[in-house]
């Protein structure tokens, strides 16, 4: 029998706390899970530094990837049972697309590395490009499995992830404003953090989802379930993904990797310890295998070494990251941004290197984007609701709640600084006290403010 269609003699399941079971029915899916590249995802945390704030959320990209696969599988089952295509172009679901969709779902994050966001910032890697490379490069086990379907299959799966695949139903399953990826991570992150904001009614959303000619729509009577999903997503961004302490730990990580890189580039590294697995990245000449050797544990192993580095800044940054000593932060507005130099002066004058001990970071998200703009490379398609007679209506035109947050960036800009500025501690030099006092006048209700005149 054809490998592409080869069903396992008996369906295999993986116990999953979010979806109860992950059902694997194709030999190829099992083979992909068993590749070295996919198993590596077990060693990369899904939430990065946020797990230092929400201690329960230590889950990996491995479990998330299985979850995205499972939701995609359920969508395919539903589409095939209820909306199979009868004649080409009728807007129904063509089940020959199933395997492509399942593989893309499973592999969509395979190019992620440890603490991707920060790592990419320092070392200029690109997890999306690497995902494509892992799928299409003949040296990977993933490619070897995919190729058994057909010579063009690896590129096809990659094109779904890159949103260039011709069938918009398949693309939107994996990447749109309400796709298997987002649905799994919201539910999973809510489960593992123990917050309840991220929960929404997955079963009902899957039930009202339906294919049409240009992608995927939702039955009008499921409007409130979709609305609830948008609100959940909005809340998870506000409460979890943009948590100021998590962003503070990312600032520290960024400065830590940046310092190590700088020391290396300027020949000041401690020669008694060589971070072998990072060298290709310091040297800007890494190959795919170098990248695939990285994981969270490799970075923290080096941090353990660096915590004892003769370079004070490197050692302190490593200590702050490993032992969780975040910076403090305050919200900055357009109106108060001009105060930042003055604050940095104070921080410098009590002895901190402000390049490493301060930062400004903004985190903004568009909770719902109704503006489909075909010029954007990866347009986020808007969410369409379908009336009983087939008419489509864009979500924000019927939902007051979604209309309220559509097209609006939410989040904030924050200034990060050592918490010693607000709580100097008993052993702080007394002569600095006036500086600390002055600094405190600029911070109120977690905001940067123009201090009141005395």
């Amino acid at each position: 029998m054809n490998y592409a269609q080869a069903r396992l003699p008996r369906e295999k399941v993986f116990r999953d706390p979010v979806h109860n079971y992950i059902y694997v029915q194709h030999q190829i899916i099992l083979d992909l899970i068993n590749t070295r590249e996919f198993q590596r995802l077990r060693r990369i945390k899904q939430l990065g530094t946020a797990s230092l704030i929400f201690h329960g959320a230590e889950h990996s990209r491995f479990t998330h990837s299985l979850g995205v696969y499972e939701i995609t599988r359920q969508i395919c089952d539903n589409f095939q049972r209820n909306y199979p295509t009868k004649v080409p172009g009728d807007g129904g679901w063509d089940d020959h697309e199933r395997l492509t969709a399942l593989c893309a779902a499973l592999l969509h994050d395979i190019g992620h590395g440890p603490y991707s966001h920060t790592f990419e910032h320092i070392f200029h890697t690109d997890h999306e490009a690497i995902t494509a490379e892992i799928l299409t490069s003949p040296e990977t086990e993933v490619n070897q499995v995919l190729r058994r379907v057909s010579a063009t299959f690896p590129a096809e799966v990659a094109s779904v992830i890159q949103k260039t695949y011709p069938n918009p139903q398949v693309v939107q399953m994996i990447s749109s404003q309400i796709d298997a990826d987002r649905m799994d991570y919201l539910l999973r992150d809510a489960y593992y953090t123990g917050t309840q904001y991220g929960t929404f009614d997955l079963t009902r959303i899957l039930r009202v989802m339906r294919p049409y000619k240009d992608g995927i729509a939702f039955a009008m009577n499921g409007m409130h379930a979709v609305e609830d999903y948008i609100v959940s997503r909005f809340q998870m961004y506000q409460q979890v993904y943009f948590h100021p302490v998590s962003r503070s730990m990312e600032v520290i990580l960024d400065h830590l990797l940046g310092r190590a890189n700088e020391l290396y580039q300027t020949g000041q590294s401690d020669e008694s310890f060589i971070p072998h697995l990072l060298l290709p990245f310091f040297n800007h000449e890494f190959n795919l295998q170098d990248y695939l050797n990285l994981d969270d544990g490799v970075l923290t192993t080096y941090f353990i070494h660096w915590r004892q580095s003769p370079d004070d800044i490197l050692a302190d940054m490593a200590h702050r990251f490993l032992d969780r000593k975040p910076l403090k932060s305050a919200v900055v507005t357009e109106d108060t941004a001009a105060l930042l130099p003055r604050l940095q002066d104070m921080i410098r004058s009590v002895g901190f290197n402000t390049d490493y001990y301060t930062a400004t970071d903004n985190s903004y998200d568009l909770p719902y984007d109704d503006a489909y703009d075909p010029k954007v490379t990866h347009p986020l398609t808007q969410i369409e609701l379908q009336e009983p007679d087939g008419t489509l209506q864009e979500l924000s035109t019927v939902s007051d709640l979604v209309n309220a947050i559509r097209g609006k960036f939410t989040g904030d800009q924050r200034f990060f600084f050592p918490k010693e500025m607000l709580n100097p501690g008993d052993d702080a030099p007394e002569i600095f006290q006036p500086i600390y006092d002055d600094f405190g006048r600029y911070i109120q209700n977690n905001q940067l403010i123009h201090p009141k005149e005395n």
Copy 2:
């Protein structure tokens, strides 16, 4: 104010998926959580290799330790509200013990290292001794915090964990057949694996728990809740902790570390790579700081190097561990143990080194031990139920279910071998086929059997 009693100006909470919130009310508890030694527990998985089977269960000893603290806190609250001591020796709860109990609960696992069970087997470390050392050695941050209470406080807390503390109520809270430790890990492991076997009614158990002169008893009308807990524990052992694939991954880990050690001891190590952080252990001269530098990530970082070792066995063991290639297994009984040499011969004859590719492992647990034996160093106290008139009755005398499994070791002995012996694969040399066929006759229904005569 006295540091020991210093309450936080405002109660602090940690969001927890199992207990909803962890409530921290004392400055000292917050300070302990913020120590380097305690933060390290974030980097050590609670379930070790079982997370390779139950993919959702990637939680750390850090979250479990917080959970044990929280359950202990709830027990103290309940005892203080309902059963405060009035005259010494009346069997009531003396709330001066609270801080000792809370610290012991939080720190009971602080000496654990990466994959403790296996690591200790190879390197002869002892996590219980190290726990005591972390508490009492002046060089640790934990000790520095504890010492602020009093000079003897670190040793007092250590003695609770070692079960030599004079107040049996405090000791049993942390270590007995139904203690805060076991209750947290059962609920937590059940939550993260997504199995439902481990769930029991914690609120009800806490409600029926009460102090008495010799420790902690349970109201008779809570008998079924206690019974349900014992059955849950029994099921978690059968289903999760003794899972044959998890034990197989431990076998591989054991052989991997053993091989690395052997190569080092015999001077055959690959000189191009030095596992700095393991050297003190290879050399049998580690200090506390060396131990505290270890975590799961350090080991897997070395495994990534070893996966490319010139030593084939080391490389293959590292590959099998990192890329999750378990051995197969079959149950061995007294009756079939004699067949093992014959099977090992076959395995050897198709080319495997049986020292590394086979193993025999037994996992047994006593689901409920009603025999209090004071000669045992760490006696597990039996569970006592209290009638309305104060009479005590040992659990198994009133519960048929518990009586059924009391004093009975459950678990099994298994023989581990390469799965290639049962599924040789397409590229296996044809001349070995008769050996594979012969081997298969010895395995039926996952058991080792005396093959039927042809």
Copy 3:
């Protein structure tokens, strides 16, 4: 000891699926629960006709009342632990108010009768007035219990429910936009219907709640939890409380009781059956005891008799209610309201009495009302958020989501009609077919529309 403060020798618990346990600590609370008037609430469904749509939601006002009590108890505990008053007027919580608050919480719904909304419409009863009467009339067991505290206590408790009690903290606990009543019914109705819209993070809301001089505020860092509660409430109204089929069953109930009343007033009742327990209401001369004899079962018992009434309309309405045969409905807008007479003509012309077989009903709710208007008898106080420095901010000024739905009535107006108009069935007279066809042109996507010209 004083009865008011009499604690039970041992705290008593009621197992509750929503709050896990309801904790009763005062003798008086237990005595109130055991009164005849309170036990009667077991026989009155919380959701009325909505249980005919959400079949799982068959819970009674009894369970809801216990839940409101429990949430109030938790609020008092939190206030007393963290914000006790120190000097009069400092905005802290005075725990002498606890018993008044608990009794008001427990008894706030005690005057409800069967299917209150509809019953009041037909018989001009008023459950709020009756609640006050049950508390203050010496003939009730509730009054006898309350009076044991003091002669004025019954009236004090009643004044909390009537919002005239002087302490605004106590009043807002029981009646405000985010009170124990609403919080319990949202969580409870969500649990029993099995929908997930109504869930929000109760523990977190209780945690951020705090008393101040003019009532109750919420810490600013709990803003998202409050926001989520408002959205949940909005969704429950849209999805459950305003469900069109539930409203249709209420229409039928209204017409059923109306028809019985009309037959009685006009001397046309079937003399072979006397609905003894309703006679006082038909005769407009009921006393409190008559009212307290009513419950859901009394009404349905009469409906079972009426289902076999010689009056066709009464019999059919009873059949439709008991055997769940709802009317259909369509949304009416200002623009389409003018079409209703034409539709009623058609319905009449196929033989239906439109007084009984059609209705227009609107259900609107204000999801969040930020306009505190002291002229309104029962002003709904706005929700205040408290900054770390004590400043208050009204919720909709900081939440985009809440701002979006504030002050906006949501819901719809619907026209109800026999479903036979759209699905005449096989045995419908053929000559009516053109009327059915014409009727169908006015309904599209569940809306009343101006039909397209042919």
Copy 4:
């Protein structure tokens, strides 16, 4: 198209808190749900008097019946997907049986009346016989629906419920030691009571269930899930179904209906009130329609009347039932049964009619019955586990836990008496005090005992 196979144009769902959704795919199932006889089940509580103890558990037989249908549907889906029959007699599943199984599942409880157990005891009705009659009598709507499939279909469905249907797979789905009926009520009662004892892993049990020639077996690797189900069932009986207060309320109900019956038979009824709907039962000449007019509300409506009866015992029994005034109870053993006459004398001597104010009741259950005895009319089939090679093993031979409780009746015998005997209250005549004191010596730890000699 054939009515039997008529699929709904679109699958219809009912939101259910236990199974999330109930999926209805056949027109006939929807038609059955809409019958008058099935809708009546909404007005009959699933747990009877137990809802007076577990206040959350007010759910009806309607919701349970939908749940049994849904589990059966899922079993059929699984069997059809994985184990379809290929040749007759191969032990596979023949999907032509599906509709019969689904109808039997839905209708298995349709003959239940209000508080069946007690009602049958007084009026000698038989809900199993009535179930068969509702299915086969041409006057019911249920029969009219079933007949549309074929003339013999009603009797076929009835024979499944009566366990005489030839296909043992279908029979065991609905009635065996681990069937859809038991699985739904355990999960549902656990959900609504809020206890956690009744939960078990339904998904896993459904997964390991498989048809074989003589019925239904379970894969050996699902042994622990089956074991957990048996233990859950055992615990629900101990904790919920045999709750002494619930049994006490049943005693009161029994004496209440018995008293009413006795008064009627002896011509002593209060003539001012006629319980029309009960007369056919008093007169021993009821027809099916009389039976179908009964529900919980009809009984409680009559109790409301009787609460004001001139007959003191009838009035007090009605009051005790409506206003929840249970009797007390104590466990009686063989050894203490001889004391009962002495206790009854005391109870009588303080003025209680012991015929009405005392009772002895035993509740016993066989948690697991491994003895298949074909002579028993309705044999409970034992649970069979299937090895990978197809061999069957009876559950208790492989499970220590099940073996422990197999074939053992658990439960107890209790003596019920007025709680005034233990707590006479302030207004009890002083001269009776010695009797109360004496009585109290016979009760210790909720057991009847031989009092200690003074």
